[in-house]
């Protein structure tokens, strides 16, 4: 069963010292590698900051382009991982062990009918 984990940065994760961030980034590397090797993580990327985002909004035929993420909030998506695990409990275990902290939203991927 595939799920996408959306990694969300919060005020806490945004205000870390460089040393702290570097240490956690190293942990993420090991964590990611371990779960890729185990076949649980099958894809994913880290994203650049929300200040680099551009939003294209379709509204009844008209299209507007706006600087910034689609929703202005203190919390923002910092990356995602695609995982393939047996069930939600396994997905929750992964999300709970995510070294960066902040918020992780788990969404099951829409299965395509054969």
């Amino acid at each position: 069963m595939k799920y996408v984990m959306l990694f969300v940065g919060t005020e806490e994760t945004d205000h870390r010292s460089e040393a702290e961030s570097a240490a956690i980034t190293e942990k993420i590397g090991a964590w990611w590698g371990e779960h890729v090797a185990a076949g649980q993580i099958v894809g994913g990327e880290q994203l650049q900051g929300p200040e680099t985002a551009t939003t294209v909004r379709h509204d009844h035929g008209s299209v507007s382009i706006v600087d910034g993420p689609f929703i202005e909030a203190k919390e923002h998506i910092g990356g995602y991982g695609v995982i393939d695990v047996p069930n939600l409990d396994a997905a929750l275990d992964l999300a709970k062990s995510w070294p960066w902290g902040g918020v992780v939203e788990i969404r099951p991927v829409q299965e395509q009918m054969a």
Binding site: M1, Y3, P86, N87, L88, D89, L92, I106, P108, M113
Partner: protein, 420 residues
Amino acid sequence: MTAAGTRPEADRDHARRRIDATFRHEAGRLVGVLTRFLGDFDVAEEAVQDALAEAVARWPAEGVPERPAAWLQRTARNRAIDRLRREARGREKLAMLAAGPLREGGAVPPPEADERLSLLFLCCHPALGADAQVTLTLRAVAGLTTAEIASAFLTSETTITQRITRAKRKVAAARIPYRVPEDQLPQRLPAVLAVLYLMFNEGYLSSHADEPARRWLQEEAEELAELLTRLMPREPEPLGLLALMRLHLARSAARFDAAGGIVRLRDQDRSRWDAAAIAGAIRLLRRAAGLGRPGPYQIQAAIAAVHAEAPSWEVTDWPQIVALYDLLLQHEDTPVVRLNRLIALAAAGGPQAAETALAQAEPLREALAGYHLYHATRAELLRALGRTEAAEAADREALRLAASPAERALISSRLAGTRA
């Protein structure tokens, strides 16, 4: 029989009660067996509800089958097949069902497994909202109908139906597993205990006029709590919850008068309490305390134990009860706990205490304005202070809010008594 024949609704009621006896015990287990077998909670749950509906429709005319539980299982299995036939994705599962008896081909159940326990952890999964957890448990594990759950929650059937549909959709879409989470029991346990206690309370103070205490619901909750204590012998809180339930049950014979009216604790004939059951519950509580990790259910059981051991309301060890409520507040600081502490505080001593308690009740008003016992408590405090008119107004408010006919009767009689 003639009377029953001319009154189909009464006949139906009778069949329904007969089904209750069978179904309540079987529903959860059957949903569990089918869920494990099919890996599809939604289909399993719907099929069992279909089987119940069919029993309600057929048993009055055809008579109750000789082996009602087996009949329900066979019917539920057939209804599951019907449902799967209608679904494109059901074919694979259909082949499994057609292959033979329910148990074969499915995963080997863990030892000690009561299917209802896995089902309980599924229904109480933290990925579901609290309302959804309770609703799903009442329906899938305890076998309540949507109408009964709606009346328990004082809400509409539509709301409950939507809640169940949404919850089951999430179970399927997010693949919430059907299993006992052996590796995460401490984190997952509080939700299960909360749901069981709610289930027990629904049975304890039912909103059904003709069945003031629906024993079956209490027994279901007690049985599941007992199962939890066996599964988790090192966890004190299930023991606390079980002790709490048994302390309530031990005193239940004295809770209702011959007419089905509620008898308040202070007026109960304590000789009708089951002393052996009380002693047994207190032993359970000691076992829990021996594990050295107090928790809200152990403390509530300790409060119930102080009441159960007291020869009368007057000589109850109220200071001890107030102290236990103070301890409980450290775990569970809710307006209802604060209200119960006030009652103990008022009972601990004279008019002065009632005055203090009444003052402390004021800040709870906003949170508890819709809770009949808040107003009933105020009424008692006001009455103790001789403020009859204010007491009557508070009782009228309590009456307006009380859901259970038995509770309404109690408040009404008190109102009548005030006027007399």
